[in-house]
Symmetry: D4
Amino acid sequence: MDAMGILRQVREGDLSPEEAFKKLQLQPIEDLGYARIDHHRALRQGASEVIYGESKTAEQVAGIAERMAEAGSTNILITRLSPEKAAFLCERVDARYDPTSRIAIAAPKDIAQPIGHVVIATGGTSDMPVAEEAALTAQTLGSHVVRLYDVGVAGLHRLLSQAEELQRARVVIAVAGMEGALASVIGGLVDCPVIAVPTSVGYGASFGGVAALLSMLTSCASGVSVVNIDNGFGAGFLAHRINKLGEK
Amino acid sequence: MDAMGILRQVREGDLSPEEAFKKLQLQPIEDLGYARIDHHRALRQGASEVIYGESKTAEQVAGIAERMAEAGSTNILITRLSPEKAAFLCERVDARYDPTSRIAIAAPKDIAQPIGHVVIATGGTSDMPVAEEAALTAQTLGSHVVRLYDVGVAGLHRLLSQAEELQRARVVIAVAGMEGALASVIGGLVDCPVIAVPTSVGYGASFGGVAALLSMLTSCASGVSVVNIDNGFGAGFLAHRINKLGEK
Amino acid sequence: MDAMGILRQVREGDLSPEEAFKKLQLQPIEDLGYARIDHHRALRQGASEVIYGESKTAEQVAGIAERMAEAGSTNILITRLSPEKAAFLCERVDARYDPTSRIAIAAPKDIAQPIGHVVIATGGTSDMPVAEEAALTAQTLGSHVVRLYDVGVAGLHRLLSQAEELQRARVVIAVAGMEGALASVIGGLVDCPVIAVPTSVGYGASFGGVAALLSMLTSCASGVSVVNIDNGFGAGFLAHRINKLGEK
Amino acid sequence: MDAMGILRQVREGDLSPEEAFKKLQLQPIEDLGYARIDHHRALRQGASEVIYGESKTAEQVAGIAERMAEAGSTNILITRLSPEKAAFLCERVDARYDPTSRIAIAAPKDIAQPIGHVVIATGGTSDMPVAEEAALTAQTLGSHVVRLYDVGVAGLHRLLSQAEELQRARVVIAVAGMEGALASVIGGLVDCPVIAVPTSVGYGASFGGVAALLSMLTSCASGVSVVNIDNGFGAGFLAHRINKLGEK
Amino acid sequence: MDAMGILRQVREGDLSPEEAFKKLQLQPIEDLGYARIDHHRALRQGASEVIYGESKTAEQVAGIAERMAEAGSTNILITRLSPEKAAFLCERVDARYDPTSRIAIAAPKDIAQPIGHVVIATGGTSDMPVAEEAALTAQTLGSHVVRLYDVGVAGLHRLLSQAEELQRARVVIAVAGMEGALASVIGGLVDCPVIAVPTSVGYGASFGGVAALLSMLTSCASGVSVVNIDNGFGAGFLAHRINKLGEK
Amino acid sequence: MDAMGILRQVREGDLSPEEAFKKLQLQPIEDLGYARIDHHRALRQGASEVIYGESKTAEQVAGIAERMAEAGSTNILITRLSPEKAAFLCERVDARYDPTSRIAIAAPKDIAQPIGHVVIATGGTSDMPVAEEAALTAQTLGSHVVRLYDVGVAGLHRLLSQAEELQRARVVIAVAGMEGALASVIGGLVDCPVIAVPTSVGYGASFGGVAALLSMLTSCASGVSVVNIDNGFGAGFLAHRINKLGEK
Amino acid sequence: MDAMGILRQVREGDLSPEEAFKKLQLQPIEDLGYARIDHHRALRQGASEVIYGESKTAEQVAGIAERMAEAGSTNILITRLSPEKAAFLCERVDARYDPTSRIAIAAPKDIAQPIGHVVIATGGTSDMPVAEEAALTAQTLGSHVVRLYDVGVAGLHRLLSQAEELQRARVVIAVAGMEGALASVIGGLVDCPVIAVPTSVGYGASFGGVAALLSMLTSCASGVSVVNIDNGFGAGFLAHRINKLGEK
Amino acid sequence: MDAMGILRQVREGDLSPEEAFKKLQLQPIEDLGYARIDHHRALRQGASEVIYGESKTAEQVAGIAERMAEAGSTNILITRLSPEKAAFLCERVDARYDPTSRIAIAAPKDIAQPIGHVVIATGGTSDMPVAEEAALTAQTLGSHVVRLYDVGVAGLHRLLSQAEELQRARVVIAVAGMEGALASVIGGLVDCPVIAVPTSVGYGASFGGVAALLSMLTSCASGVSVVNIDNGFGAGFLAHRINKLGEK
């Protein structure tokens, strides 16, 4: 935490106590009234703050993105953004928008050299929006991503025929709704970490993704962990963190 | 229904209205006070009444079994019977008891010629009590049963190496706790009916079998239907009914 | 499973290992990007792949149906298709659409000789869409279907007056919302397999079909199994599988 | 309410304001520290206070019963009393205990002339403890009770053969676990009020009585209302209240 | 049940067996394809069949009402009918519509002499639609109804000031959302049956009426039973049944 | 309660019994048919009755507000009021409307001297509507309010940098959706009462605020209590009550 | 928070940066391996750390209490302590144990002058253990406590006759299981904060306290907040915090 | 998957088709009747099969461990083993048992050089059994583990004073019951993957770990994923997999 870093500087004579106190008060947090932007997060946590677009107004989203871009952030991820808000955003800020994943990237900058190998598999066509949210997130953060879509376990050979691809992965994201069995089957096929993403695809006893969520949490395969229902962003973010470890 | 059968006899002159009315009053139901035994059920539904042992006293179980045996029933299934009640039963009635499935069979009689091919698969060792309840039920009713235990999807080749056995089945019972993915995977491998039995094996988010239940209900494989959690008896009974259809 | 079938050919000299490997790579799976079509499924599982229309775009649905029809599939079932998507589909592919069940059948072909006897009963008028999904599915696959609608247990003689029809069935589908008691009552009247379909009809404590689902899972009648809430397709598909067994 | 009754007496000159105030302060409530006994309840509500035995100590139960008996109450119902507490009670107070229903009756007094006709039906043998709690409650309050046990809907003719008995009832209590369909079927057969009592009999998806509870709440039969799971007392109490209306 | 009644006529010589059988086949049930109308229900159960309007089409509702009116039914209740369907209905059949309760009454006929005393109390203004559904149902069936609206327990004196009105009731219907405490408080004030109706009024942890439902089911007051969430019709119907008992 | 107060006056000779009775009958409750207004509530409970606008019609809301204003109430809070109803209200009554919190204040009057120190903190921007409902409620009742928005625990230093502000509070309201951890962290930082308000912000396993609700209820920090999901009004009301205590 | 306090001392020259850093490292937290004791908590938060006894071993409980007593803490609360662990504790440390509330107080010291007025009311006798946990907690922290037990709403006059006692309270704790209506009724009677404690008393649809919890969360009375099921300690702790505000 | 690996050998001429087929039939799976041991798993997935001890008999556990040890496996993990079964095991096989985590390690072998840096933090003392299950699992697989126990967020400085330790981690396991906020707070402090383990520690609304589970799934901190309630083994296993990536 920063407070500790500042104190270390005090100990090593690099900072006076007065300055230390000021810094703690004047943390690089900009208060917009409706939001507090943390401009130093990229330094501290290796990624700019991500903007959750769902329950913010178009003005709030654009306002935050604008301030972050002005402060030098690039590849600012904005998730769960409706097309209408995206249109508003793109008029105010330099941004790209992907309607399938509903992700916008403000102040976009090309990734020079994607790292590692993240495989994203889905049970069916309907899981694509969540899978693409994961894929764009990991790619924007710098990972190399391979997509294996519509490989659900009811037609097992569709998945088995991709076994080599799976085994090359440093981390696999398994995206599935309905009964979510994909995570368990992949978990038994690979020896790398598997991030399971339950989706709200389904009806009746799928209860908006609960069936897949419980199924993935109780998977009999080892090496599987789970993120929230439809949380493609979280899976992509974590996959990149794990993927990066293999670079060191 | 019998009422209709009796009326048909009236129409065809085989029965007087007076007799018809008496028969409807004097249905073959024996009232023991705590239970009404339906002695004609074997005729009507192809199987003697089954005694659910869990919440009956040892005296009640033995009393019912005794009366049914006296009335000529054989291979009377008693399910969910504790060892203590079973001991009490065996002193009063001719009966065999299997402690794994907790099934007793009163007035046991050998099955001359088991029919068809029922395959019972389990995800793990812990699912055995439920699977054996299904197996003994189907066998007692007259089916030929093959057991494939501990073939859970986390080690998929254990299941795939038994693919030929599965494909010979007229009906498959898939017994699994935890995430219950076994039903979906088997459902994708065979083209016969699959009866899924969720078990209460597991902990935490398996919620006593709910995770497996939901997973099986939302299976993306077609041809799968589900019975209650831990209902091995129900699966075995239904499997025999389906299996019998192939004999006709 | 196919992998095993291919290996058997290798063993028997009908296939070289090189060809075997190619076959495994070149499974009859066509990758459209958003979907992987399994063109050999009709061979393996006795029925073409079924298209779940709900969360696919009109373009995706039409694209898959078109490719399947070109590859020779007939009577391709498309379930949960909105009228709008159906209109789009019918412009691109030869297809029939039924608005009650929301089923489309692409590349339709008449069934020469419907087999067996599948009875579909509903508790009320409101369960008709689900019942029709089951009925059209079973009919399209080749079953003879009889409908008994609005025979709920609150007016028991409506059901009892149809007892003969029920007893002729090889398999019965019981479709009911609210308390779902229909499945138990029918289960006590017949000696064939009963497939229970809970529907989301109801309000308050019916919780979108949960009351009926739990009621059907805990039915005290033997021989009853359950599919997902509103899963008319699954019930019709399974009913045909069971019905077919009686033909052998 | 009493406060109003007292004020009315003031208005009509039967009571001075000073006395009225005292009465309101000195309500016939006796405070034992752990309980406040309402000695006038029999006057106000037509029945003595009932003691819920489950979470009281044996001393508390006996203490309350003793004070009520001393104050002149008779036929004091004590529900959910374990055999151990009952033994303790019977040493201190004149009381009878029924182990099936776990009801004790302190200061018992014979009912001269039971009124009306309350029918209590159960789905199975296992529902007897709850049914007996209802039966003893209604009998102790003064109702004539007829028992129809083990008439569950899976063997419908067991129930139909008792149709005349049901039609004589002024109120029916339907006690059932598992899927609880008994309430709906009886609700369709009679034209008197039906009180449905879900029981915790069952396993798996019966969720301790929830399946029966939801089933009964969503019954498609009119004239059915529901009490808490296993609440035989509540059903018996209400049945007597309704039964009494027919006497007026 | 009718089958029994017909058989009794056979026994007493009032009916030949041939006629009896015909009657059982030709039950007064008219099959409209989408619905089976039970024209004799008013005879058997004291009230015409009630039409649940929610998930029927306007054509179906009008069709059923029309046939019932033609067959001589009057005061036909149609519940949960949208204004649009009601407009359609009123063009085809003689009917009155109440938009608050969403009830229509087809073939309306004045009630000569309302009987008894049914009190309907609500916790708040928002519970009025459900309360009116109960009130109109009971009135249409012939009961005298008194309304006490907005007497929730958070302002207890609003309720206490109506204590005399409550005590005159033969049966009370307590309608409340949120925490549903009204049923318990009224249950402690009166000595007649109380029918509790939880409503879906509320937000957050009221979970669409579940909080009120559970609260009412676990009421510590005796003499209270519960119907489904928002089931004003069921409460009104049952209240009339109970109210009628006091007339005999 | 008033009834007691009136009786005390009788005892002390300030009121004749006749007048007392009349007062109890003529409580200051005005019955509008759809609502009973309690005009003396401000006297008894320190605040005018609050109007819950969600499920009342625009006419009902305006009618109640109008009558209250005429009777002399000021700063009448109307919560959960849609902009449409607010527009209708403002035409009929002197009122101010805040669209973020959806609160209207009828017969507004300035607060002379706000008391104490209520701090309202939110986890994120999306929690603002609920927080503003709390803030406006407390302010309207007379409290001094400080807002700390977007200080969620994932960026802990945003919260820690405001520690002094938190420590000055007499009561803190912690408003958060998602996992609701804010309440626990604040609970560990302050020694005044903390009112936790879970919000429905989130998706998937947040289940409309349930995750935050459970998290807050099980907080390991002492001194924290919880109100309903999204119940900003309740939190603001309670905060003012607690805040007032510090004034005495 | 302490870090800030230490920094302030640095700014005001009362502490050198080196010492500040050491203090932050050498926080008054003692690490026993299995627990970290915070010896300065009484200073910071006005109360010593409280020991949750439920899932600690007797050795761990005694070890922590011993170290806290040695460091000068008095009146150390230990909650949810079984009699067995309490016996072990009392042999090692000076402590008193109350078996009803299962609270132990180590290093007990008399409270000179209890402050304020905390009223604790329960719905029934069975709620006493939770109420006593609240009472002992508040008393040990220094509050004056009045107990009103067994005043549940089903016998409303038991509660109303105590209205004056309630109105004297600075804060009320309402403890109730079953339907938990007590909180709403009390909330309507008083104008001080009400802390509602749902208890797990009940059966069936009380679901271990969930019915009471939901009922209390959705209370239509203002000024009510809720703590966890059976959390008497939390209520007593918070009540004391609120009570203290009135002293300032 | 192995099937593919074998086929690759066929393609490259390292294996004849006949041998390939035999290998597929003779997979290194040993069938003990009650279990199928996969002896090659260590090769394929980097770790021997792990034995879930909970629902196996002592004989089954010992039998499997014995066979694995004979086949050359070392450091065989057996989880959720009761002390009784452990005693039985240790008599038959060379094994060590840890009663806190209930883990046994059969055929134990020292880890030469633990790799990386896995930090395991707990909210409280009560979470230790789960944390130790994670710790022993990761250590047995070869990871270097650091324990930070009892650093829950209600005393935030306990956690903040360990910030440097946390920042050295390659992966952090956050173990917490109650409200589970620890995962979110740690997630905001570190930039490595965080594995959250909800525990069943708590009571009331913690619902056996559900509150913590939901809280962790909906964490507003990025980089957090979740395993099943109390699944210390799964967290430790996954942590080692991630930790290993940093070694490459």
